[in-house]
């Protein structure tokens, strides 16, 4: 493990619940680990499982996917689609030998600023324990 390595976490969140939740964490000044970069999508339904793979491939060490709680979806059922895809995704990831510990799916509403803060810190700690994610990068190099 290289010196002073810091885990890179990328979070795919929906605009209506989790992004707002993340904003609330800000307005309420809940501190959390700085390792996360948020990518906003309209709805978790928009999040393509390939995003997760791509993120890992491009050097993220962990991924968070988060959206509205079941039945709270701004688009009524987008998050259910997301959940279905995620279940499929987990199977795929295990197939590919990716440690599921690196990919976290969590509901987080616009009122759950504290939950978002905890989620991030928690994931960062977990991934820090797992160490940097090399497999795909090495794979890429081999391919090239």
């Amino acid at each position: 493990m290289e010196e002073n390595w810091e885990p890179k976490i990328i979070a795919f969140v929906c605009n209506w619940c989790t992004y707002a939740g993340a904003d609330l964490a800000g307005t309420a000044r809940f501190k959390y680990a700085p390792n996360v970069r948020v990518i906003k999508t309209p709805c978790t339904g928009r999040i393509d499982p390939m995003f997760i793979l791509h993120a890992l491939e491009k050097g993220a060490d962990g991924v968070i996917v988060s959206g509205c709680h079941p039945n709270d979806c701004h688009y009524t059922e987008g998050n259910f689609n997301a959940r279905r895809k995620y279940i499929m995704m987990r199977a795929l990831l295990t197939q590919l030998g990716v440690d599921l510990e690196r990919v976290t799916f969590s509901w987080c509403s616009a009122s759950e600023g504290i939950k978002f803060a905890r989620l991030v810190t928690e994931v960062v700690d977990r991934v820090r324990k797992l160490g940097p994610y090399e497999d795909f990068k090495t794979l890429n190099r081999e391919v090239r």
């Binding site: 810091e6 890179k8 990328i10 992004y19 707002a20 993340a22 904003d23 609330l24 964490a25 800000g26 307005t27 000044r29 809940f30 501190k31 959390y32 700085p34 390792n35 970069r37 948020v38 990518i39 906003k40 999508t41 309209p42 709805c43 339904g45 928009r46 999040i47 393509d48 499982p49 390939m50 995003f51 791509h54 993120a55 491009k58 050097g59 993220a60 701004h74 688009y75 009524t76 059922e77 987008g78 689609n81 895809k85 803060a117």
Partner: protein, 659 residues
């Protein structure tokens, strides 16, 4: 080649404290494609916005990133500024370095690094953003109200009051709904007819309202602002335009049938009007029972009709209407006594529903208000009212509370006591739900002034014993069984969705719950909207409600309709899905996952008009830009504009390389 301008905000000390804004701007400036990167104390202030506008013009920027607070805060502000400077607003993005950076981290090094990354990601996105146009949809200035009960009537009146033409659609032969069957209403005890019939007349006379009775929705096509409704006018065998409602026909008609309006307690003829104040007060022939239509005999009505308005050859007619917005006010129906085994499966004549009771005491009822029990016409001295029959009973019927029974039962005990001064009224209840203006006081009055005997407990069984009915109940407050010999038992049976509601909901493409109640777009903040744009809901179609609630919802829905049709064009954000036709295989995955039925199949034909293949097509009017369709496409042929794969992958790459 992209020419991006980046503007980093201090937000006073809010950002500047934990982010070295100058350094950030400086690093960002090195990114290829960034032609300008500056920082400023308050970007959102007027001078701040001026800086952006100027820059856009001077450096003729193709894209802008404002790194400041959350886009939820100021995206509109800055996009407007960009538009003013002649740039497509969708080419401006915001990097959230306040709520999601400076406010949640206290180490300046981290803060600065993260801000740089966030801005970098947005720069990469903006490079790939495409200018989008807001979508404009024409609107038909005409509304359709489905259901002619008090809710539908109110909605129609309010919409018409806004100067918009309305069609009031009613499946029965007269408007008025359940309210027209009630005797007096809680908590004021004013007579239902007296307050409803004027409204019925008003709506009938309103030039902007077209009432279509004995008609149902056959088919609905189109989308918000542009619906095409096909309405089936069922054969009535009476030309209601020629008919004067003189009544000769139904006086002479020889056939007697139990009256639906009187809840089977009275009789009507085979050609009839349901009740004297019916609107329109025009009869129809009931084909199942008319001798002429059944066996070809009789035909008196046609012979004696002074205006020759009766035709036995009458057929259903289909009418097409262009509609801008729809209000669904289909109401409810009451469970019949025959549903309840322990209460005799409806075989005891003197076990009646609350609605039958209303007719029994109503001055315009079958007995003209003389209170008699159905079996032998005897005046009941002891009446037992049973609440929560079929409601709050997940084991056998419905889990929900029917909401209005507590109040109308209290009312009915009063009506009874006003008819029979020395009568005994017993009420079996589990809880008394009287949360409304003057409701609790009303229930107290029933007990304190009109002497209704309230017993906390459910009734286990009712059975006939000679002339009387025996009610086996419990009083849970003294923990004893109670037996009552009653002359009449009134069951406050559950309200349930009307027959055929699911079929209607499917025609409209709106949702309903496991019982068949229609579901609102949001239970708190969008209570009178369906999830389908342009279709609104009101009254008991959603779930049990009392008259005040239904009427206020009617007005609410009407306001929504007026808001919608007030403009000739609807404008909505350009963030909608778009199909790449050449690669679309027509697999219909997107159609399946779309929550808004916004996607459909479109034929592609050659010049000769032969069908070559089918591809998906997005209706921008219905699309809400959720993007669920995009990941579902195996050939990457449908993409969400404003959040395209290209743009999002760019963000991922930028992030991953930098952090």
């Amino acid at each position: 080649m992209a020419r991006i301008g980046v503007f980093v905000c201090w937000c006073g000390s809010n950002i500047a404290e934990t982010v070295d804004v100058a350094k950030a701007a400086e690093v960002i400036a090195k990114i290829p494609g960034v032609v300008l990167s500056v920082d400023y104390k308050y970007m959102c202030s007027d001078p701040g916005q001026e800086i952006v506008k100027q820059a856009i013009k001077e450096h003729n920027l193709t894209g802008v990133v404002v790194a400041s607070c959350s886009p939820r805060m100021h995206e509109k502000t800055f996009r407007k500024a960009a538009a003013d400077a002649g740039m497509n607003p969708y080419m401006l993005e915001m990097a959230n370095i306040r709520e999601q950076c400076s406010w949640v981290h206290d180490n300046k090094k981290d803060g600065t690094q993260k801000s740089i990354d966030l801005i970098r990601m947005m720069v990469e996105k903006v490079k790939r953003n495409k200018p989008l146009q807001n979508i404009k949809i024409p609107v038909t200035r005409k509304a359709l109200v489905i259901g002619g009960g008090v809710t539908g009537i109110q909605a129609a009146l309010d919409i018409a009051a806004g100067g918009v033409p309305v069609i009031l659609l009613e499946k029965d032969m007269s408007i008025g709904g359940h309210m027209s069957k009630l005797d007096e209403t809680f908590p004021t005890l004013d007579c239902s007819q007296c307050i409803l019939t004027p409204k019925m007349v008003e709506v009938a006379q309103n030039p902007l309202v077209t009432i279509m009775t004995y008609s149902e929705l056959e088919k609905l096509e189109g989308f918000i602002g542009n619906f095409k409704a096909t309405i089936r006018k069922k054969a009535r065998y009476v030309d209601i335009d020629k008919c004067t409602g003189c009544g000769t026909c139904w006086q002479k008609c020889p056939v007697k049938v139990p009256s639906e309006f009187e809840q089977g307690l009275g009789v009507r003829k085979a050609i009839y009007i349901p009740f004297p104040q019916a609107v329109p007060s025009r009869p129809r022939i009931d084909a199942e029972n008319c001798l002429k239509l059944k066996e070809g005999r009789c035909g008196i009505c046609a012979k004696i009709c002074p205006t020759q308005c009766i035709s036995y050859e009458d057929k259903d007619v289909l009418i097409e209407e262009e509609i801008g917005a729809i209000v669904v006010a289909t109401g409810y129906q009451l469970m019949p006594t025959s549903a309840f085994g322990e209460y005799g499966y409806g075989k005891y004549k003197d076990v009646v529903t609350s609605l039958q009771f209303e007719r029994m005491v109503c001055a315009s009822g079958p007995t003209l208000g003389d209170f008699q029990r159905p079996s032998d016409g005897k005046k009941p001295k002891t009446v037992v009212f049973v609440k929560c029959v079929g409601s709050r009973d997940p084991a056998h019927y419905y889990s929900y509370c029917s909401k209005i029974c507590c109040m109308y039962t209290a009312k009915q005990t009063m009506l009874f006591r006003h008819k029979v001064h020395d009568g005994n009224a017993y009420v079996f209840y589990i809880d008394i739900r009287s949360n409304g203006k003057n409701y609790e006081e009303f229930v107290r009055r029933a007990q304190e002034e009109d002497g209704a005997q309230y017993i906390r407990g459910r009734v286990s069984a009712v059975y006939q014993d000679g002339e009387d009915l025996v009610v086996e109940g419990a009083d849970t407050l003294t923990n004893s069984q109670v037996k009552i010999r009653a002359d009449l038992v009134v069951l406050a049976t559950a309200m349930e969705p009307p027959k055929g509601i699911k079929e209607l909901a499917q025609k409209l493409g709106i949702g309903y719950d496991q019982f068949g109640w229609l579901t609102e777009a949001h239970p708190k903040l969008r209570p009178v909207e369906s999830a389908t744009a342009g279709i609104f809901l009101a009254g008991c179609a959603l779930s049990p409600r009392d008259i005040p609630d239904s009427v206020s919802e009617a007005s609410g829905a009407a306001a929504k309709v007026l808001g919608l049709v007030s403009k000739d064009e609807l404008e909505k954000e350009g963030v909608v899905a778009k199909v790449r036709e050449f690669s679309c295989t027509g697999c219909q995955n997107c159609i399946r996952v779309c929550p808004y039925t916004a996607i459909s199949l479109k034929d592609i034909r050659d010049r000769a008009g032969n069908l070559i293949r089918q591809v998906a097509e997005v209706n921008p009017g219905l699309c809400t830009g959720c993007g669920t369709c995009t990941p579902s496409c195996p050939s990457r042929s449908i993409d969400l504009q404003g959040f395209t794969d290209d743009e999002l992958y760019a963000e991922i790459n930028a992030m991953a390389e930098l952090i």
